[in-house]
Assembly symmetry: C2
Homo-oligomer: 239 residues x 2
């Protein structure tokens, strides 16, 4: 499984930045220097740098150089969001986790479901409600719709473990693009029944549309998070 050259360079530079070999506010070696160092073309170096810019690790300036703007504030410990599953998230943070399925049904999308999921009318789907526990506390309530023609043979047992592991291992399917919308809403009775709200009268509602490698939107999920456990990071640049 040979990695590509630009990914190797990207990861090497990233590690050097994280380990302060290249320090905050310092300039990286020039592109031409890196070309010699990694024995590759300038385009390849530039591609690696472009990824670091997207990650908010460095910032380039025309005629001047590439400046490190990475600061460690434990982004990795939390970092919800991204295209990461609940199980992966829990594992990475060494937290005990569990999922309980409280509804599992199969149905056909009608106009009403289409209106809020954008899944075409007539498509057959699994509809689930699941409660996610972290360290024994119920912190997320998921309302899922999965297309049956993509997520074939889903069962409640699988849904209590990891649907994404099943997709990847059994069906050779993967989530590629995830589009998300986040809002905060007042709690419903259902939220209050199932979640540990800790005094909050609101939940963070993350609505996701998820596409597989064929460009099919195979999942629509509304995740209702208890506010106390929700953290989201993001970095943008302009120009």
């Amino acid at each position: 499984m040979p990695k590509t050259k630009y990914i190797e360079i990207y990861e090497d530079l990233k590690h050097k930045i994280e380990q302060n070999i290249y320090e905050y506010q310092q300039l990286l070696p020039s592109e031409n220097t890196l070309v010699k160092e990694y024995d590759c073309s300038r385009n390849t170096v530039r591609r690696a740098i472009g990824n670091l810019v997207n990650d908010g690790y460095v910032q380039t300036k025309h005629g001047q150089g590439v400046r490190v703007i990475y600061q460690d504030f434990k982004q990795n410990e939390y970092m919800f969001g991204e295209t990461e599953s609940f199980k992966e998230f829990a594992r990475r943070n060494h937290k005990q986790h569990e999922t309980k399925v409280i509804l599992f049904e199969e149905l056909t999308v009608d106009e009403e479901i289409h209106a809020h999921t954008l899944i075409p009318v007539g498509v057959e789907v699994y509809h689930l409600k699941r409660v996610r526990y972290l360290e024994g506390k119920p912190v997320i309530m998921d309302h899922n719709y999965f297309r049956k023609d993509v997520v074939k043979g889903l069962t409640a047992e699988i849904a209590e473990d990891s649907i994404y592991q099943y997709l990847d291992r059994e069906l050779d399917q993967r989530a590629v693009t995830a589009k998300r919308k986040m809002v905060v809403e007042r709690t419903t009775e259902e939220d209050e029944t199932y979640l540990n709200l800790d005094g909050f009268n609101s939940v963070v509602v993350v609505t996701s549309h998820i596409f597989n490698s064929d460009g099919v939107m195979f999942e629509h999920t509304q995740s209702r998070h208890t506010p106390g456990n929700f953290v989201f990071f993001d970095q943008t640049r302009r120009k």
Copy 2:
């Protein structure tokens, strides 16, 4: 002000997707076709497509093509976040807006301020508290720290209009990279005094670190949003 070729192609394709000339789930013309159409190199076409992938407009698949996955759900009408100022946001949505400065002071960063802003100890800063009104309702409370050596000559009057307009027009300074962290917190007495919370007992706290083109982190802001008015969009892809 001549735009670059790949930006022109990127914007042209983007418009064609938004106007359904290239439809949802359809494949774009192949890269080689687009090369002829735009009379440019394949690299340039690929660069334009790469930007559309980042925007969540299309998804590429090796050996198959570039598929449109854009769906219009009024992303443009709201879309807080990004590197957009409050004033720009209000203008774009045709909302009446206003800002009131409730604290304006100049001070020197000590250990305590450094700990939560990451601005180096000893740096002189402006410290402001501002309340932002949308359609007459107080919806955001900002706690700002600006470096005086970058944001020279800031006054309360400027802060009631638009600091970013002042930066751009008078000081030729621009925000380039913004790093954000979002959490939900219980309201403080100050929140309750100044904001229209509409029954919520929480606020969305967005902590931002903002860098200018020289890589200097010149602003640290904590924005406390009333939950009812907060919307955030995001798209990610993996692999």
